[in-house]
Amino acid sequence: MNKVRTQLMLCGGTGCHAYKSDVFQEELQKELERQGLVDEIKIIETGCNGFCAVGPVMLVQPEGIFYQKLKVKDIPHLVEEHFLKGRTVKKLLYVEPASKETIPNMHEIPFFEHQVFWAMRNKGAIDPEVIDEYIARDGYFGAAKALQEMQPEQIIAEVKKSGLRGRGGAGFPTGLKWEFASKSPGDVKYVLCNADEGDPGAFMDRSILESDPHAILEGMLIAARAINARHGYIYARTEYPLAIRRLGIAIQQAREYGLLGIDILGSGFDFNIDIYQGAGAFVCGEETALMRSIEGKRGMPRPRPPFPALKGLWEKPTILNNVETLSNIAQIIRKGGDWYASVGTESSKGTKVFALSGDVNNIGLVEVPMGTTLRTMIYDIGGGVPNKKKFKAVQLGGPSGGCVPEQHLDIPIDYEEIAKVGAIMGSGGAIVMDENTCMVDMARFFMDFVQDESCGKCTPCREGTRRLLQLLEKICEGRGVPEDIETMQELSGTIKEAALCGLGQTGPNPVLSTLRYFKDEYEAHVLEKRCPAKRCVALLKFEVQPEMCTKCGMCFRACPVEAITWKKKEVAVIDKEKCIKCMTCFEKCKFNAID
């Protein structure tokens, strides 16, 4: 192997890809060839770097210089300045929005500075399609230790000691789950990985699969050894083609290296993994539904008990772990459960990955130690709310979760603390909402989702969520009556108690949490027929307020159907006959002058 002096870790995650990182890579390679640098400088396409907001991004190693928002036209200058003359290109570096300071080194950028990379330790650091690079970062050392030096009971004890809890949403202790399955009688057992990441607003599993697929295989191998399983499946979303491709490559390479298959590392232990592609059903994230789906049936949940640890896939003892959970396993075995438990709060140990998105400056993946406050995550790492808008709430846990308003932003990230304020940790979606978000409309959005994804097996979920949605639609359209709010509260309680699986039991949460903190918005919709955030079309008048209008003409230029008349120094007027209520003028008006 040639010794290269510089490695360019170019992000090939979905975010950067959409910003044409592939074209950039091709052109950069050509330029390096032209300058005769290909023997010294190597481009490595990595998985998602996490800082999607400023893509495409590239890390220059070993210096640690971080380039962002790369464009093809910058290539000749970049190659000449940095790679020939050794000078960093200032205009491609990150600029801190508040202080206007240029920060060349990745680890000094506030977005990265407050993070701790455990579950995502290899993101952007290795080529995910080369097993040697994973091994070079201590990959498969945990598996080797588990297979050669440890008994199954010791593995389980170590995972229990770490305090690791399921990162898919429910937060069940991982070690305990393994212990149940290991004690279940039977020769045939299964290890499953839940990569059916379905919560809207969560993309950490996709990112881990794309950037570090071997970590998942290693975690599954250790789990298999702990419960004595011979076969595993990764149930992956079909919407993630890149993740599926990289997993396939990883499995193939692991087989070639004897890290999957027969007699792994001479231990006499056999284990194999297959990928199973889902077909687009949110409810398949529920464990019993996922198992039915692998069996080729409609993915509908069944009542528990019996729990999958006793009767799971094909009626055999089965454990199902989430991607992020599994990515922690190898390190716990390698470094010990005490090491993992040294970070976090009393009941929540280690780190948690959040997908920070919505109305926040630094959109991307964020991994923080448990116990960090939500405020640190949103303001110090996320850089706060853009366009000088006011923060309204952060939605945690997707359709099963809830909104956390301003007054609770100082709670630590911890399963129990988050539950106390009416949200859940969930899989880690964190969607920031500014003052322009209508909370009634948000509740309607989530209820629409739950109602659509309800499998229809149990009545409380199938019928109850539909009635809730109808009530919310009624309120958003200005036909709500005061009793509707009470009815929703009562109905939500019934659904929570009576639904069969987690989807229904948590489905009313978005309604309950918005009612808890934003009841005034519901009341404005019902009593005054007014949408304070100006998002519910039926409650808007589509009129320009003359006293607010600055006569700038932005709305006039933006209107797609020429329904707005405006002249310099005159207030704009909307022709309601022509108006198609597309909301473009609302978005464009910076002065909140349209009602």
Binding site: T14, G15, H17, A18, Y19, C52, A53, G55, E197, G198, D199, P200, G201, A202, F203, R206, T238, E239, Y240, Q277, G278, A279, G280, A281, F282, S293, I294, E295, G296, K297, R298, G299, A355, S357, G358, D359, I363, G364, Q395, G398, G429, I431, M433, T437, M442, F445, F446, F449, C455, A558, P560, I580, C582, M583, T584, E587
Partner: protein, 164 residues
């Protein structure tokens, strides 16, 4: 076992049938393979006509009701024809907060197209899909294999006009 008689269907050409037969033959002894078979057959034909679902059921020796049940349960499978270009508008939370609703209504107005439907000339099919996991780019629209990030309502038509 591949059935003896192939049904007639205008969207399934003579070149497609051997591919469908290969998929069935490769999977007929594997338990739980039905979802994979339906996916691969849909990749060949573009959608799943009822005649094809019946043919697959016979080939895999499964009750037609069961195969139809699976095909209708999962959102990946379509039992209506698709347009030449498929527009997928992401309905994830981040995209919703960033205004995908307005994007969809703009597409609808421009091409007289409703969610889940295809234009009369079969140029576009518009689907509102589940979170694509590209929340960093919200609002996101995917046309065929191309992902477009930060597509606000006033930009989307410009993007779509590239697809004939």
């Amino acid at each position: 076992m591949v059935p003896d008689i192939r049904p007639e269907h205008s969207d399934i050409s003579d070149e497609m049938w051997p591919k469908i037969d290969d998929i069935i033959t490769a999977n007929c002894d594997i338990p739980g393979s039905i979802i994979g078979v339906l996916r691969e057959c849909q990749d060949v034909v573009g959608w799943l006509p009822v005649e094809l679902i019946d043919y697959i059921s016979d080939g895999l020796n499964l009750p037609r009701s069961e195969v139809f049940g699976v095909a209708s349960f999962y959102s990946l499978f379509s039992m209506t024809p698709k347009g030449r270009h498929q527009i997928k508008a992401c309905m994830g939370t981040a995209c919703y907060v960033k205004g995908i609703k307005e994007v969809i209504s703009r597409i609808g107005n421009e091409y007289q197209l409703k969610e889940g439907c295809t234009t009369e000339d079969r140029r576009f099919t518009l689907d509102a899909v589940r979170c694509l996991g590209a929340c960093g780019l919200a609002p996101v629209v995917v046309v065929d294999q191309d992902t477009y990030g930060d597509v606000k309502a006033d930009k989307v038509i410009e993007v779509l006009e590239k697809y004939e």
